[in-house]
Subunit: 310 residues, 2 copies
């Protein structure tokens, strides 16, 4: 495996060296607020269905030879309601597996400690060579499995933003490319939820993995872990809303059981990000959210790739 970590500026630069996994380069949250439905008063006139009817949401990616899987990990809370359910889901954390179907090189995004067996079982079944476990940021609501995964998968590297403050084999920054076989994801720095948040864009811009920077009809909170509402607003508008309207958005969480959205939809319907920057800052500064249940144990563990260390 070659070992090239290349910075690419500007973001859209077409020809770029790739970050090949196995890099020897020396390098080294608090999760989302509830994304609640749903304001009507939006200022975009785009019709998400008509932008590009050929591709819109009929598939998860239009790239041939790309394997893609979305997994869920769920946190529940006690809620007594009227329809005899005693527990409801508080958060759904998504993990993504991507692979080249020919070379079988694979990467995993935001893996969760509790679901490591599920994820590695599928990797084994499909005969994949998992080369990188990457986190979109230093999560505060769950513990990453990247450290334990490194102990169980020979040659596996971990990666996270160089601004996250966390340790990892590879520290990522704007324009870096994460390659697996003939495919790659490009890193876009999207600070605001935390100062180390990054977003991954597929080569054909048909998929974007937004972490907590942009959720379906919501976004990550900005009231700790170096959160900054102005930064988040700029990140989303400059780095995500500039993608094609039919680009599929795969976030780190959802609270309503939604699995995917599109840039066009969020540009039109996101109740926070369709506001002016001043209105957005006002909203974010007045959410008055409780401290996350697991923040103390999660953040300290995630700073070193999880409970099992780097």
């Amino acid at each position: 495996m070659c070992s090239i970590l290349t910075k690419v500026r500007p973001i859209h630069r077409a020809v770029a060296l790739s970050l090949r996994l196995g890099a020897s380069t020396e390098c080294s949250r608090y999760a989302a607020t509830q994304s609640r439905r749903l304001s009507r008063g939006v200022n975009s006139v785009v019709d998400p269905l008509l932008i590009n009817a050929r591709f819109y949401c009929s598939r998860t990616a239009k790239t041939e030879g790309l394997l893609f899987r979305q997994f869920t990990y769920l946190h529940c809370k006690f809620v007594q309601n009227t329809i005899c359910h005693l527990f409801e889901v508080e958060s759904c954390t998504y993990t993504y597996l991507l692979a080249d179907t020919k070379t079988k090189e694979a990467i995993i995004i935001d893996p969760v400690l509790e679901t490591i067996d599920r994820d590695l079982n599928l990797v084994m079944e499909l005969g994949l060579k998992l080369t990188l476990a990457v986190n979109t940021h230093c999560h505060a609501d769950h513990i990453t499995s990247s450290g334990l995964m490194k102990k169980r998968v020979s040659g596996l590297k971990s990666a996270i933003s160089k601004f996250s403050g966390a340790s990892a084999d590879i520290l990522l920054s704007e324009g870096d490319k994460i390659a697996f076989g003939k495919h790659y994801l490009t890193v876009r720095e999207t600070p605001g939820h935390t100062d180390g948040c990054i977003t991954f864009v597929s080569a054909d811009e048909s998929m974007v993995f937004t972490g907590d920077s942009l959720l379906i009809r919501g976004c990550g909170r900005t009231d700790f872990q170096q959160g900054c509402p102005k930064c988040l607003y700029d990140s989303v508008h400059d780095k995500i809303f500039t993608l094609p309207d039919n680009c599929l958005i795969y976030p780190a969480h959802d609270y309503l059981g939604q699995t995917v959205s599109t840039v066009g939809e969020e540009r039109k319907f996101n109740p926070r990000l369709t506001k002016s920057k001043d209105e957005f800052v006002e909203i974010m500064n007045n959410l008055n959210l409780p401290k996350p249940f697991k923040i103390d144990v999660s953040v300290s563990a995630n700073l070193v790739c999880g409970l099992h260390g780097l």
Copy 2:
């Protein structure tokens, strides 16, 4: 809207009249067992990744102009474990929305009472014309929203298998086609979990909605609601495993946070359906599962399209 309900035999007959929604045609479960991982001893030699690398799992459907969304609804249970989680997910129920991006005609599969607002909000946002709410069977673990949805969406029809014993506007049987715009799903009868289970296959056979007949690495239990392990074995082998290996499987449930599988994977890795029929029957007759929590209220409600009646 035209009103034609046509039976098509054999299943693969290419030219067929369609069941158009809004049909005036007079027509007259217990949900899945845990699908646990994961036996290695399988008799297929197919490599799910190499079957058709062009399409395998890189998208949820290869049909142009088809909008597709997968939603989750989650049941939790109390589980004291060692990593400070007090509640775990007992079941995840999937709902599917499909639409023609041009005509905006849409159908919904297995909608859940508790998530009706989420589902109808998205229908409204995307400007869809929801014409049919269809259930894969008479569910025993949750209550359908099809009855309430009919009250809230003008012109909406409900549909279910004619063998389900349940009431609906349209009673479906083998070979019927459910059309929305230029797209359609074909009905395959797959009894065994219940005698009224049906499976929906997309026109290009790139997607199959299997209800509880086939789950990811599992299948629905067969110990009540006219369950029959022999029938289920034949249903899966004759009606689902005969689809292309790269056909994406969207089940009614998952218990491990998995969102999709493929026919090739299940043919190779399903720990039950890779066995002989006799072994399968032995397994299914000895699951010794507890009675579902909500079976009494769910089944009686679902026989009439949910709590709100037909």
